[in-house]
Symmetry: C2
Subunit: 214 residues, 2 copies
Amino acid sequence: MSAGQATRMRILLVGAGGTLGRAVAAELGTRHHIIAAGRKSGHVRLELTDPASIRQAFAKAAPGPLDAVVCTAGEVAFAPMSTIHPAPIGESAYTLGLTNKLLGQVNLALAAREHLVDGGSITLTSGILSEVPVAGGSSASMADAALEGFVRAAAAELPRGIRINVVSPSILVESLEAFGAMFRGFEPVPAARAALAYSRSVEGIQTGQVFRVY
Amino acid sequence: MSAGQATRMRILLVGAGGTLGRAVAAELGTRHHIIAAGRKSGHVRLELTDPASIRQAFAKAAPGPLDAVVCTAGEVAFAPMSTIHPAPIGESAYTLGLTNKLLGQVNLALAAREHLVDGGSITLTSGILSEVPVAGGSSASMADAALEGFVRAAAAELPRGIRINVVSPSILVESLEAFGAMFRGFEPVPAARAALAYSRSVEGIQTGQVFRVY
């Protein structure tokens, strides 16, 4: 994986069945071997909120060397903040974002350490709401920003030259029909353009970075 | 609370017994009435992780109008990332940071909405680790960044002109003896200097901002 060397990598892609995941698979799949992981589809099944499921997915994916782990999965709940009230972690409107998109991806990164080759990489997904709020998006803003803070810190503590970055896309062109009403005036990005940021993270040399795609 | 008007405010200060809280009380207490809240001391007792305790503290503090809520409390656990492994929310090394410093302050902000006057303010506390990592600080980096994302989003959804900001201090001069070894090379800031940022949030006009003190 030194500069200029065209290595065919084995890449575990979590969320491979989603809109963004399919675009990442299309981009990286032309040069690398993609092991597709998902909750409901893919070569291996993986439920982000279940550490045992994450471990099992790595066990299935990693008999061969694993060069990169990419996650394009992660759920948050959208709700007007006027409907959100103080609640403990298990009962909060913020629980899904904190346990799924945030801690799910963090646990995936922690588990990946044991399975990645020296100099391998981890690429997670946050989103534009980290920096730009929308109505009802406070859980996403919290989880996305938390992921970016985690990645800045984790990059400095990962062993064996393992890198970690996070891609922060704007609303995708392909998601406009479902979510466009929440993102009026946002410039949508094609999933194929967002996929380039994952390529840059996996096939580049940076670590601890937020790759904004907007 | 219009510009130039010197109003004596009633301010609920959570964490008033701590190093930073005492400095904030000294700064704001010369001009305003401070209602000190803390886990172990203060006019009212408040345990950040317990929404019922937060509600009770507001009930005790708010027979009169409440103009501002300031929080200088919030705990995280420090641990080398090499010792942190995938775990569900209740058992994770990240649980304290997510439930106490993050969700505790978020719940305080959510509860404050019902008790603050029109145009009142909420000021939370993150920290320099949001942007700058230290060894063992991944939980703090995650919680601090999450708070900043939440505040950017919440500012746009708070009712009745209520403002919200977050202060992000570097290591305090007064905390060097306890934590200095983790922060070698960081320029420490006197708590009294950090306290100015809380004054600027409470007595100024901005909202959705991160006040960096470093």
